[in-house]
């Protein structure tokens, strides 16, 4: 009696252990060379905009005041159902503006010319080449696509906020409460989020997929340009070739993909 109960518990325990560790073992197995499972093919929209590595160039010479940036921020937040929370601690921001000394902390200095000193700069996720947020995520809820865009799976995120600590650009926001009551007009074509998950700019992946440029780019009257950083013939490469550009905190080595013409 005693014996059979003990052996049952043993078998049950080992089975549970096996089931529990399978996903863990799968990861290590996957990193080996053999047995790559065929991935299901999803055919792309024919009109989809594609790139080897997406990047953006922001021509700050075309902006003069906060009012000039409003249309882009408005467009972004509206189509992505970004709530307007009254409590500053709970703020959600995908695209916002800040001063030079806060945006370019590594090169700011007191004697910078007046135009730059008082000019508001647009800030957003840099879609880094080597994103530290992706590195630290314990569930792969935030991940990098082959084309460089860093995305969030709102349904997988456990809300540990490790990515927020890891992002050196402060690009991520957390839903400290249910955001839905704070969305004025819901865009039914893009999901709303629930409380307890992290979110950020997604480079308008959902728009690129149907052949549209990011909403901010579209609303910028040519001041913002998105394109393929690896295509020497692309518009962004042309801008980078013909203008002096800077990036935020390049010394950290994350490889931000957003460039600023100043």
């Amino acid at each position: 009696m005693e014996n059979s109960r003990r052996s049952f518990l043993k078998v049950a325990g080992i089975t549970a252990l096996g089931l529990g560790t399978k996903p863990v073992l799968d990861v290590f197995a996957a990193s080996g060379g053999h047995g790559a499972e065929p991935k299901p093919e999803v055919s792309k929209n024919e009109k989809a905009l594609t790139a080897k590595r997406w990047g953006m160039v922001i021509d700050t010479r075309k902006f003069h005041s906060k009012a000039d940036l409003e249309p882009m921020i408005e467009a972004c937040h509206k189509i992505h159902n970004v709530p307007k929370l009254t409590e500053p601690r709970h703020e959600i921001m995908w695209l916002w503006e800040d001063e030079y000394k806060h945006v370019f902390t590594h090169i700011e200095h007191e004697l910078i010319n007046d135009r730059i000193k008082h000019l508001p700069f647009l800030v957003l996720c840099n879609h880094c080449e080597k994103p530290s947020c992706v590195r630290v995520c314990p569930t792969k809820a935030t991940f990098q696509r082959d084309d460089g865009i860093v995305l969030m799976d709102f349904h997988r995120c456990i809300g540990c906020r490790f990515c927020m600590a890891a992002c050196p650009y402060g690009s991520r926001s957390f839903n400290f409460r249910d955001p839905r009551p704070f969305i004025k007009e819901q865009n039914k074509e893009f999901p709303t989020r629930m409380k307890g998950v992290v979110e950020k700019c997604n480079f308008c992946a959902e728009r690129l997929a149907v052949g549209k440029m990011p909403a901010c780019v579209e609303a910028s009257n040519g001041a913002m340009t998105a394109g393929d950083l690896e295509d020497p013939g692309s518009e962004v490469r042309e801008l980078l070739r013909t203008n002096y550009t800077i990036r935020r905190k390049p010394d950290l080595g994350a490889g931000p993909s957003v460039y600023y013409i100043v």
Binding site: V27, P138, T139, C157, G159, A165, Y169, F176, K195, V197
Partner: protein, 393 residues
């Protein structure tokens, strides 16, 4: 053996009920947090980790500190600690349990916690932290229980426990090292981006864990028939002394590097904590209190006559524990977030609901500790009826 926890005097049950009440209150407030979201805490977009993660970090230290009675016993055959190793192991169990609870209450979507197993990410330090903490918990439960039961039955513990004990000795520094790696590998967070962080964590752990054990030993001696022993307490006191000195030394190393190099992104956090930054300095009095407490404890502990006086020792351990708690439980985490990566200063203070949930988790941990210590002391009392010391273990 658990039946030993069911027989106790009024004081014991009073303590159990008080702790149950506190953890009940914490749980009720947690239900509110589950409903509303983490917005009921003082955390923000800029300070995205607060009190919960700080308690977690501090308690990983306390858990690791338990090894300071296990290691001398098993690696150096220091027999005197044989009497109290079980207290170190049971303290570790309760501390790790609190750590895990603090992680859970900090999650935005706690019901998705199994995603960490379903989508394992070996690149994430959090994945490894989950593994080391759970294994450490399991090790201490298995070891503690087996060794105590063997002691009760007056036999030597089964042989397979010994390798587990050796593993647990290596595992203890590992849990705190991995916990430090959560922070010190993040670009753009100058306060944590330092190789001394893990050593500093360990030094503070090996000071605060054993300091708490000394206090617990003194409490046990006072309220039960089991005396953990004067020699044992004094040996622990020496460990605490060296550990807290090393902790403060490591901190001063950090201060030198930061202020001699004068790199603003590293300096600004320490400035915020100790003198305030751009007119914000909510933590300044706390941090100086922490420093004063730790330095005072060093003075008291270094002087042999003071250390040998158990009243003074208790006082020194108490202020050391509070000092280390403020340093790690308040300054270490929010200090890393202020100023934020864009050099804005957003201050953080825990809210009342946040403090109640925190108290609830502490109470749950101390409830587990009370029950486990009751069992351990019960066994010790039983055994001492037969003979004075346990030679077999």
């Amino acid at each position: 053996m658990l039946e030993l926890a069911l027989k106790g005097d009024k004081k014991y049950w009073g303590l159990v009920i008080a702790l149950l009440t506190l953890s009940g209150v914490g749980f009720a407030v947690y239900l509110k947090q589950l409903d509303f979201g983490l917005g009921i805490t003082g955390m923000s977009r800029d300070v995205s980790w607060g009190f919960y993660i700080a308690q977690f970090t501090f308690l990983v230290g306390v858990a690791a500190g338990g090894v300071m009675v296990v290691l001398p016993k098993y690696l150096h055959d220091y027999k005197a600690f044989g009497r109290i190793t079980i207290l170190g192991e049971f303290l570790a169990i309760s501390a790790v349990t609190m750590c895990l609870l603090f992680i859970i209450v900090d999650l935005g979507q706690p019901m998705r916690i199994l995603n960490v197993l379903l989508y394992p990410s070996p690149g994430s330090v959090l994945f490894w932290d989950m593994i080391v903490l759970n294994v450490y918990l399991l090790l201490n439960i298995v070891i503690g229980w087996n060794v105590l039961e063997a002691e009760r039955n007056n036999v030597h513990y089964v042989s397979w426990v010994k390798p587990l004990i050796i593993i647990s000795i290596i595992w203890a520094p590992a849990i705190h090292t991995v916990t430090a790696y959560l922070y010190c590998g993040l670009p753009g967070r100058g306060f944590w981006l330092t190789a001394i962080l893990a050593p500093r964590f360990l030094a503070s752990a090996f000071a605060s864990g054993p300091a708490l054990l000394i206090l617990l030993c003194l409490i046990i001696r006072r309220f039960t028939k089991f005396d953990p022993g004067r020699e044992q307490i004094q040996s622990l006191a020496k460990i605490v002394t060296y550990a807290i000195i090393i902790n403060v030394f490591f901190f001063l190393c950090e201060v030198f590097v930061v202020f001699y190099s004068r790199i603003p992104s590293h300096m600004s956090h320490l400035q915020y904590l100790f003198v305030g930054l751009h007119g914000h300095g909510a933590l300044v009095p706390w941090m100086w209190t922490a420093m004063a407490f730790m330095v005072t404890s060093i003075v008291l502990l270094v002087i042999p006559a003071a250390r040998k006086h158990e009243g003074v020792l208790a006082f020194a351990c108490a202020i050391l524990f509070i000092g280390a708690w403020i340093d790690k439980g308040m300054g270490m985490i929010s200090g890393g977030f202020v100023p934020n990566p864009l050099h804005h200063v957003t201050e953080y203070m825990p809210t009342l609901p946040e403090i109640l949930i925190t108290l609830g988790v502490w109470a749950t941990g101390f409830l587990i500790l009370t029950i486990l210590f009751k069992v351990a002391v019960g066994v010790k009392e039983e055994v001492s009826g037969v003979k004075d010391t346990c030679e077999s273990c």
